[in-house]
Protein backbone atom coordinates (compact mmCIF):
# COMPACT_ATOMS: atom_id res chain seq x y z
CA UNK A 1 0.00 0.00 0.00
CA UNK A 2 1.39 3.35 -1.01
CA UNK A 3 1.04 6.12 1.56
CA UNK A 4 1.29 8.76 -1.20
CA UNK A 5 -2.21 7.79 -2.36
CA UNK A 6 -3.59 9.34 0.82
CA UNK A 7 -1.19 11.89 2.30
CA UNK A 8 2.07 13.70 1.64
CA UNK A 9 4.40 11.60 3.81
CA UNK A 10 7.58 12.72 5.55
CA UNK A 11 10.89 11.21 4.44
CA UNK A 12 11.14 8.68 7.26
CA UNK A 13 7.40 8.10 7.61
CA UNK A 14 6.25 4.49 7.31
CA UNK A 15 2.98 2.67 7.73
CA UNK A 16 2.99 0.75 11.02
CA UNK A 17 -0.36 -0.87 10.38
CA UNK A 18 -3.35 -0.54 8.07
CA UNK A 19 -6.75 -1.46 9.41
CA UNK A 20 -10.11 -2.32 7.95
CA UNK A 21 -13.28 -3.53 9.56
CA UNK A 22 -13.24 -7.18 10.60
CA UNK A 23 -13.99 -9.47 7.60
CA UNK A 24 -17.03 -10.85 9.46
CA UNK A 25 -18.71 -7.47 8.79
CA UNK A 26 -18.35 -8.01 5.04
CA UNK A 27 -19.59 -11.60 5.42
CA UNK A 28 -22.73 -10.28 7.18
CA UNK A 29 -23.40 -8.11 4.11
CA UNK A 30 -22.79 -11.10 1.84
CA UNK A 31 -25.35 -13.13 3.83
CA UNK A 32 -27.89 -10.32 3.33
CA UNK A 33 -27.16 -10.24 -0.43
CA UNK A 34 -27.69 -14.03 -0.58
CA UNK A 35 -31.09 -13.64 1.11
CA UNK A 36 -32.02 -10.88 -1.38
CA UNK A 37 -30.89 -13.15 -4.24
CA UNK A 38 -33.00 -16.08 -3.04
CA UNK A 39 -36.28 -14.10 -2.87
CA UNK A 40 -37.03 -14.29 -6.67
CA UNK A 41 -36.53 -18.06 -6.56
CA UNK A 42 -39.36 -18.26 -4.00
CA UNK A 43 -41.53 -16.01 -6.17
CA UNK A 44 -40.74 -18.18 -9.21
CA UNK A 45 -41.67 -21.34 -7.30
CA UNK A 46 -44.95 -19.74 -6.18
CA UNK A 47 -45.85 -18.54 -9.71
CA UNK A 48 -44.92 -21.89 -11.19
CA UNK A 49 -47.14 -23.76 -8.74
CA UNK A 50 -50.13 -21.36 -9.01
CA UNK A 51 -50.01 -20.17 -12.63
CA UNK A 52 -47.65 -22.39 -14.66
CA UNK A 53 -48.95 -20.88 -17.93
CA UNK A 54 -47.66 -17.49 -16.82
CA UNK A 55 -44.05 -18.73 -16.77
CA UNK A 56 -44.37 -20.50 -20.12
CA UNK A 57 -46.42 -17.79 -21.89
CA UNK A 58 -44.89 -16.43 -25.14
CA UNK A 59 -45.01 -12.86 -23.80
CA UNK A 60 -45.22 -13.23 -20.02
CA UNK A 61 -42.30 -15.70 -19.90
CA UNK A 62 -39.71 -13.35 -21.50
CA UNK A 63 -41.13 -10.43 -19.48
CA UNK A 64 -40.54 -12.32 -16.24
CA UNK A 65 -37.02 -13.25 -17.41
CA UNK A 66 -36.17 -9.62 -18.18
CA UNK A 67 -37.54 -8.47 -14.80
CA UNK A 68 -35.53 -11.19 -13.03
CA UNK A 69 -32.42 -10.25 -15.03
CA UNK A 70 -32.80 -6.58 -14.05
CA UNK A 71 -33.26 -7.57 -10.42
CA UNK A 72 -30.10 -9.71 -10.38
CA UNK A 73 -28.06 -7.00 -12.12
CA UNK A 74 -29.06 -4.59 -9.33
CA UNK A 75 -28.22 -7.20 -6.66
CA UNK A 76 -24.84 -7.67 -8.31
CA UNK A 77 -24.21 -3.91 -8.32
CA UNK A 78 -25.12 -3.86 -4.65
CA UNK A 79 -22.52 -6.61 -4.08
CA UNK A 80 -19.63 -4.69 -5.67
CA UNK A 81 -20.72 -1.41 -4.00
CA UNK A 82 -20.79 -3.18 -0.62
CA UNK A 83 -17.32 -4.57 -1.19
CA UNK A 84 -15.96 -1.15 -2.17
CA UNK A 85 -17.56 0.47 0.87
CA UNK A 86 -15.93 -2.19 3.05
CA UNK A 87 -12.56 -2.22 1.34
CA UNK A 88 -12.01 1.50 0.86
CA UNK A 89 -12.83 2.36 4.48
CA UNK A 90 -9.33 2.34 5.88
CA UNK A 91 -7.37 3.50 8.89
CA UNK A 92 -3.61 3.93 8.52
CA UNK A 93 -1.31 4.37 11.47
CA UNK A 94 2.16 5.64 10.66
CA UNK A 95 5.01 6.53 13.01
CA UNK A 96 3.85 10.18 12.79
CA UNK A 97 0.06 10.22 12.44
CA UNK A 98 -3.23 8.45 12.07
CA UNK A 99 -5.03 8.67 8.73
CA UNK A 100 -8.74 8.03 8.39
CA UNK A 101 -9.95 7.17 4.86
CA UNK A 102 -13.70 6.87 4.71
CA UNK A 103 -15.82 5.94 1.71
CA UNK A 104 -19.30 7.31 2.49
CA UNK A 105 -20.86 6.39 -0.83
CA UNK A 106 -19.73 5.88 -4.40
CA UNK A 107 -19.12 9.59 -4.96
CA UNK A 108 -18.25 10.71 -1.44
CA UNK A 109 -14.89 10.09 0.21
CA UNK A 110 -13.23 11.73 3.20
CA UNK A 111 -9.54 11.59 4.15
CA UNK A 112 -8.52 13.11 7.47
CA UNK A 113 -5.36 12.86 9.53
CA UNK A 114 -4.31 13.38 13.09
CA UNK A 115 -0.82 13.97 14.48
CA UNK A 116 0.23 11.40 17.07
CA UNK A 117 1.52 14.37 19.13
CA UNK A 118 -2.08 15.55 19.61
CA UNK A 119 -3.38 12.24 20.89
CA UNK A 120 -4.31 12.43 24.54
CA UNK A 121 -6.39 9.39 25.28
CA UNK A 122 -7.21 6.13 23.52
CA UNK A 123 -10.07 3.84 24.46
CA UNK A 124 -10.85 0.43 23.02
CA UNK A 125 -14.25 -1.19 23.32
CA UNK A 126 -15.42 -4.68 22.45
CA UNK A 127 -19.13 -4.92 23.11
CA UNK A 128 -21.57 -7.68 22.21
CA UNK A 129 -21.55 -11.44 21.68
CA UNK A 130 -20.35 -11.57 18.06
CA UNK A 131 -17.58 -8.95 18.60
CA UNK A 132 -16.41 -10.83 21.71
CA UNK A 133 -16.34 -14.17 19.88
CA UNK A 134 -14.49 -12.79 16.85
CA UNK A 135 -12.43 -10.29 18.86
CA UNK A 136 -13.24 -7.01 17.13
CA UNK A 137 -14.44 -3.63 18.37
CA UNK A 138 -14.03 0.14 18.28
CA UNK A 139 -10.97 2.22 19.14
CA UNK A 140 -11.68 5.85 20.12
CA UNK A 141 -8.88 8.37 19.80
CA UNK A 142 -9.29 11.54 21.85
CA UNK A 143 -7.30 14.68 21.11
CA UNK A 144 -6.46 17.51 23.49
CA UNK A 145 -9.11 20.21 23.70
CA UNK A 146 -11.06 18.96 20.73
CA UNK A 147 -14.03 16.78 20.28
CA UNK A 148 -13.36 13.16 19.48
CA UNK A 149 -12.40 12.90 15.82
CA UNK A 150 -11.22 9.39 15.20
CA UNK A 151 -13.02 6.15 15.73
CA UNK A 152 -11.68 2.93 14.28
CA UNK A 153 -14.90 1.01 13.84
CA UNK A 154 -15.21 -2.76 14.18
CA UNK A 155 -11.48 -3.38 13.77
CA UNK A 156 -9.91 -6.73 14.73
CA UNK A 157 -7.94 -6.93 18.00
CA UNK A 158 -9.13 -3.52 19.23
CA UNK A 159 -7.33 -3.78 22.61
CA UNK A 160 -3.99 -4.70 21.00
CA UNK A 161 -4.34 -1.79 18.58
CA UNK A 162 -4.91 0.63 21.46
CA UNK A 163 -1.67 -0.58 23.10
CA UNK A 164 0.31 -0.31 19.87
CA UNK A 165 -0.93 3.23 19.19
CA UNK A 166 -0.04 4.24 22.75
CA UNK A 167 3.47 2.88 22.16
CA UNK A 168 3.70 4.90 18.96
CA UNK A 169 2.51 8.05 20.77
CA UNK A 170 5.22 7.58 23.42
CA UNK A 171 7.83 6.90 20.75
CA UNK A 172 6.73 10.07 18.96
CA UNK A 173 7.00 12.10 22.19
CA UNK A 174 10.52 10.77 22.82
CA UNK A 175 11.54 11.68 19.27
CA UNK A 176 10.20 15.21 19.68
CA UNK A 177 11.95 15.61 23.06
CA UNK A 178 15.23 14.46 21.54
CA UNK A 179 14.81 16.94 18.69
CA UNK A 180 14.15 19.80 21.15
CA UNK A 181 17.20 18.88 23.29
CA UNK A 182 19.39 18.70 20.18
CA UNK A 183 18.17 22.13 19.10
CA UNK A 184 18.94 23.64 22.51
CA UNK A 185 22.40 22.12 22.74
Amino acid sequence: MNLKHFIDPKDDERIVFALRRHPIIFLEDIAMILVIAIIPLGVFYFLNSQWPDLILGPLTGPTIILIASSYYLMVWLFFIATFIDYYLDLWLVTNYRVVNVEQHSLFSRTISELDLAKVQDITSEIKGVIPSIFNFGDVHIQTAGEKERFIFEQVPHAHDIRKKILDLVQENQRRQMTAVIENIS
Partner: protein, 88 residues
Protein backbone atom coordinates in the same frame (compact mmCIF):
# COMPACT_ATOMS: atom_id res chain seq x y z
CA UNK B 1 -60.65 1.33 -26.90
CA UNK B 2 -57.62 -0.81 -27.60
CA UNK B 3 -54.12 -0.18 -28.79
CA UNK B 4 -51.24 -2.47 -29.56
CA UNK B 5 -47.48 -2.20 -29.76
CA UNK B 6 -44.69 -4.63 -30.68
CA UNK B 7 -43.38 -6.70 -27.81
CA UNK B 8 -39.84 -5.47 -28.54
CA UNK B 9 -40.72 -2.17 -26.80
CA UNK B 10 -40.17 -3.96 -23.49
CA UNK B 11 -36.47 -4.06 -24.42
CA UNK B 12 -36.22 -0.27 -24.03
CA UNK B 13 -36.59 -0.18 -20.21
CA UNK B 14 -34.38 -3.28 -19.99
CA UNK B 15 -31.76 -1.55 -22.13
CA UNK B 16 -31.85 1.48 -19.84
CA UNK B 17 -31.34 -0.75 -16.80
CA UNK B 18 -28.39 -2.46 -18.53
CA UNK B 19 -26.92 0.97 -19.37
CA UNK B 20 -27.30 2.05 -15.72
CA UNK B 21 -25.62 -1.21 -14.65
CA UNK B 22 -22.69 -0.78 -17.06
CA UNK B 23 -22.06 2.85 -16.01
CA UNK B 24 -22.12 2.06 -12.28
CA UNK B 25 -20.02 -1.09 -12.78
CA UNK B 26 -17.35 0.96 -14.57
CA UNK B 27 -17.45 3.63 -11.85
CA UNK B 28 -17.04 0.95 -9.17
CA UNK B 29 -14.08 -0.68 -10.91
CA UNK B 30 -12.55 2.75 -11.53
CA UNK B 31 -12.82 3.43 -7.78
CA UNK B 32 -10.82 0.32 -6.94
CA UNK B 33 -8.09 1.18 -9.42
CA UNK B 34 -8.00 4.93 -8.71
CA UNK B 35 -7.57 4.52 -4.96
CA UNK B 36 -4.72 2.10 -5.32
CA UNK B 37 -6.65 -0.95 -4.21
CA UNK B 38 -5.12 -3.21 -6.84
CA UNK B 39 -4.13 -6.48 -5.23
CA UNK B 40 -5.10 -10.14 -5.37
CA UNK B 41 -8.33 -9.73 -3.42
CA UNK B 42 -9.63 -6.81 -5.49
CA UNK B 43 -8.74 -8.62 -8.71
CA UNK B 44 -10.62 -11.69 -7.45
CA UNK B 45 -13.69 -9.63 -6.49
CA UNK B 46 -13.61 -7.76 -9.82
CA UNK B 47 -13.32 -11.07 -11.68
CA UNK B 48 -16.22 -12.53 -9.66
CA UNK B 49 -18.28 -9.42 -10.38
CA UNK B 50 -17.63 -9.55 -14.13
CA UNK B 51 -18.18 -13.33 -14.26
CA UNK B 52 -21.47 -12.98 -12.36
CA UNK B 53 -22.66 -10.22 -14.68
CA UNK B 54 -21.72 -12.31 -17.73
CA UNK B 55 -23.65 -15.25 -16.26
CA UNK B 56 -26.77 -13.10 -15.76
CA UNK B 57 -26.56 -11.82 -19.35
CA UNK B 58 -25.95 -15.33 -20.72
CA UNK B 59 -28.90 -16.85 -18.82
CA UNK B 60 -31.11 -13.93 -19.89
CA UNK B 61 -30.10 -14.48 -23.51
CA UNK B 62 -30.81 -18.22 -23.20
CA UNK B 63 -34.25 -17.44 -21.79
CA UNK B 64 -35.35 -14.93 -24.40
CA UNK B 65 -33.52 -15.93 -27.58
CA UNK B 66 -36.56 -17.69 -29.11
CA UNK B 67 -38.96 -14.86 -28.32
CA UNK B 68 -40.96 -13.36 -31.17
CA UNK B 69 -40.24 -9.69 -30.50
CA UNK B 70 -42.59 -8.60 -33.32
CA UNK B 71 -45.61 -10.18 -31.68
CA UNK B 72 -48.20 -7.48 -30.90
CA UNK B 73 -49.20 -6.72 -27.34
CA UNK B 74 -52.78 -5.49 -27.18
CA UNK B 75 -53.91 -3.41 -24.24
CA UNK B 76 -57.56 -2.79 -23.47
CA UNK B 77 -58.88 -5.81 -25.39
CA UNK B 78 -62.05 -7.38 -24.04
CA UNK B 79 -61.53 -10.60 -22.17
CA UNK B 80 -63.77 -13.43 -23.42
CA UNK B 81 -64.49 -16.74 -21.78
CA UNK B 82 -64.83 -19.77 -23.98
CA UNK B 83 -68.07 -21.47 -22.91
CA UNK B 84 -68.36 -23.85 -25.84
CA UNK B 85 -67.12 -26.83 -23.84
CA UNK B 86 -69.37 -26.26 -20.87
CA UNK B 87 -72.20 -28.78 -20.69
CA UNK B 88 -75.40 -27.54 -19.16
Amino acid sequence: MTFSFPFSLILIPYGLIVLFFVILALVNIFHLVAYGATNGLTFLITFLFLAGAATVFFLTWQGVKDTDWRAPVTIGASVGIDVSNIKL
